[in-house]
Symmetry: C2
Subunit: 330 residues, 2 copies
Amino acid sequence: MPTIEEVAKAAGVSVATVSRVLNNGQVSPKTRILVENAIRELNYEPNMLGRNLRRSESRMILTMIPNISNPFYSVIVEGIEDAARKNGYNILLCNTEADVEREKIYLDLLKQKLADGIITMEPAIDIDVLKEVGKRYPVVQCCEYSEKINIPYIAIDNVTAAYKATKHLLTIGHKKIALINSDEKFMYARQRKEGYIKALQEFDIPVNEDWIVNAGLSFESGQRMMKYLLSLKDKPSAVFAVSDILAIGALKTIKDEGLKVPQDIGVVGFDNIQFANMMNPTLTTIEQPRYQMGVEAAEMLIKRIKDKKQKVENVILDHQLIIRESTMEY
Amino acid sequence: MPTIEEVAKAAGVSVATVSRVLNNGQVSPKTRILVENAIRELNYEPNMLGRNLRRSESRMILTMIPNISNPFYSVIVEGIEDAARKNGYNILLCNTEADVEREKIYLDLLKQKLADGIITMEPAIDIDVLKEVGKRYPVVQCCEYSEKINIPYIAIDNVTAAYKATKHLLTIGHKKIALINSDEKFMYARQRKEGYIKALQEFDIPVNEDWIVNAGLSFESGQRMMKYLLSLKDKPSAVFAVSDILAIGALKTIKDEGLKVPQDIGVVGFDNIQFANMMNPTLTTIEQPRYQMGVEAAEMLIKRIKDKKQKVENVILDHQLIIRESTMEY
DNA sequence: TTGAAAGCGCTAACAG
DNA sequence: CTGTTAGCGCTTTCAA
């Protein structure tokens, strides 16, 4: 691999001039052509290791994904990657498995200068630690966020989204609606519960605590919670699950117990993952603009990397209720 | 951020000694403690930009994933990441979307020294180009591969796997078995077709070309192909699809047309993605040891990075037929 | 418009 | 066992 010096020699100029050509600096047209020819002939590509050290940047964005196998996140990552790449950044993939220790190791990459900033999706780490990291390095929260730590976020209005989902069930006649929520340590879980309650209240339906359950994030959790709900004496006639995966678990249990969706039980999910539309019946859900969220997160982070003193401005993107077979009027 | 020099000063030693401590070189216990204390007090972390330039390595593995939203790949990537991280490498995520231009940009990262090697999953690029890349840089093929280019690969025995899947259908009594294959430009597609034919021949069943269709890789392709198969005068009684996503598409069409699985039509997929077990009915499929494939690919690549003259040795991992509801005896 | 030269932070050869 | 020093490839003053 040729270095900048060899290019300079071949073109009969100094390395400074080659560098200027590389970075669109002030160079006379004639010299520029000379240098460009040399670059082409030697098939030269700048060594980023040298550039990065000199500039003291890595042009890497650390993307902390709780679980890369969760199809909810993959589309966000696509958006992040496309936006990053467009701005000359690469993505460092960090699958956290919601493990605090792993996250800590990843955060060290910032100190080691291997990443210029981070996008978090669902930090497992202590919120105060994250706050400290946010003071020293560019950080953006994507989807799940905390408002108290002065780190900008991209999200949707979870309260309204959950409100719409629940209201949809109410509108088609359901009065007994269960909520399969995830852990309420998550902001989004608290917000979605709030929206759910808001809708019930609007329809003068009392909240039945038996019908509000907290699950993990897995398919199996969804199954388990649904099994519990169906074991109740007073069974719900519909379920709103805060993720499609949970809803798909619920769907499976309902069918396994010989009941029919939507005739016996209506089901609404959340996220609109690809599989929501592959199920039988297809799943009514809330569409989150995941690709766009990724794009905005990356762009916001890059802005912050370039100008550390950027003011924190959060972004709330639109969501959408998508009605499918699992809540066809009954 | 303190540099190695500041640590040296604080510890009262030279930078070389600090470097030795950092890299487990020869240092007297006393000095080592001195240095370690200084490191701790200053909260020092080595700047990898400096180290990487000096060593002329990036400790990054470029992972070219055709489609990050395809759950088949995500588990492989988990394996790659874990194994890489264990060896001090990070993963550069590159979503190719099966786009040749994107792949080319990613390959440039090697020249730019931003990655030390590549793992390809399903290269869209011209095989000769890949061969050239393989001559100059460490490359490992994972899953889909070409044998002619002298680049090592990790894969399963696709012929035998497809043979087993088909034989299973034959064993439970099916005689009219369709094959929903993907594009035969892929080695694995040709191999799986071979296994399918081999099983039929073993049971003295003639191959019916009408029942062999080539689809894309999407759910929609699966639906479309199944629709075609059901439109035939002489319909198959079972389908072997070369991916779970295709099989899930087929499942959906079959149900939409009012038929039942497995009673009317048996379905076998391939890959054992998480969702195969969430469907209704659950999907019989071939399990590929995806995590392990990722681990082996990463380890093999790292070996090649460390010793460029490593001899090419391919790895074939075990697969397994997993029988579920979609082929319960009928 | 161009070149000379310093230096980013680190490692490793060499000398002691 | 430890220190001195060159230099990885690049960018960026500064001076011409």
